[in-house]
Symmetry: C2
Subunit: 178 residues, 2 copies
């Protein structure tokens, strides 16, 4: 499955505009623990390995994200599965030589328009972002879907100058470094 996704930094509140156009699905607090690999530096290969847990929920998910395959969007291969016990999963990763890097915590409000998932993220210490995402099974639909996502951003008054291709993890590590 390929995830076609664009993220934009929010300079102003667009909540009203989103609520007019899209269906509100739910709000959740996500806690994402990122890991790196012993045999290749996933920050250099633009990959990501993450255990996501949720405040007030027993759900946990292990996610692998491949390198971005498009210069504008965050489009990339994504594989994920639910896991029963996030601490045991972390133990398994560590026994195999993987190591913990960083935790990103955010409040996410999720909306939907047709096949497009819209996430309004309040990322602790980074600010507010809007992500619009859809999933495609083959590379043939990538360009068309990316154009549709750009149109949706314009509807909310957001243009390409606000697009942010870096992951929250990258933004966080940059901030910590500076």
């Amino acid at each position: 499955m390929i995830e076609v996704e664009i993220k934009a930094y929010l300079k102003e509140d667009v909540e009203d505009k989103i609520e007019k156009e899209a269906e509100f699905i739910r709000k959740e607090i996500q806690i994402d623990k990122y890991f790196n690999a012993p045999h290749r530096d996933l920050s250099l290969t633009d990959e990501a390995l993450r255990i996501r847990t949720y405040e007030n929920s027993d759900l946990s998910v292990l996610t692998y994200k491949g390198a971005k395959i498009d210069p504008l969007s965050k489009t990339r291969v994504e594989c994920e599965t639910e896991i029963g016990d996030p601490e045991k999963m972390e133990n398994i990763l560590e026994k195999l030589g993987f190591f913990y890097v960083f935790t990103i915590k955010k409040e996410r409000k999720i909306y939907k328009i047709e096949n497009y998932w819209i996430s309004h993220d309040n990322v602790y210490e980074l600010g507010h972002f809007l992500e619009i995402e859809t999933k495609v099974s083959g590379e043939q639909d990538l360009d068309a879907e990316r154009e549709e996502i750009i149109k949706l951003f314009r509807k909310f008054g957001i243009d390409e100058s606000s697009f942010e291709r870096k992951s929250y993890l990258e933004l966080f590590l940059e901030k910590v470094k500076n």
Copy 2:
């Protein structure tokens, strides 16, 4: 968690003896897919990484086993968690550079005496085995628990000459080689 476990090759049927002493829990068919790592050969380090699925069940489990820490038994560190989607888990492992090695399929009848789990395994193409296992939280109890397990084997008429320290995967790979 440390798994204290001894396995014995069964030269004759001990089913009646087990049924007299232990409580029958369930029968299941386990399909174990083993994987190796890109950065160290788990067959040389005596580790194992496995996705277990079951015939007629949606349950799937990811398990890491550390190197054996005792010359007689199969005692070793074990970490495991349920996973929602075994195929997606396999995809994640492969994206991270892990690779599939072998599948072991067996019918397992599970019995219990106090804190001891007894598995009567009919391993496809390898034969019948009996495994007795318990879990301890620290190394201080290892020797006492191993002695208890050896006593249980004697109750079933099985002595140390039948003990097999190699994993089913090792036995299978030896068989394929010869």
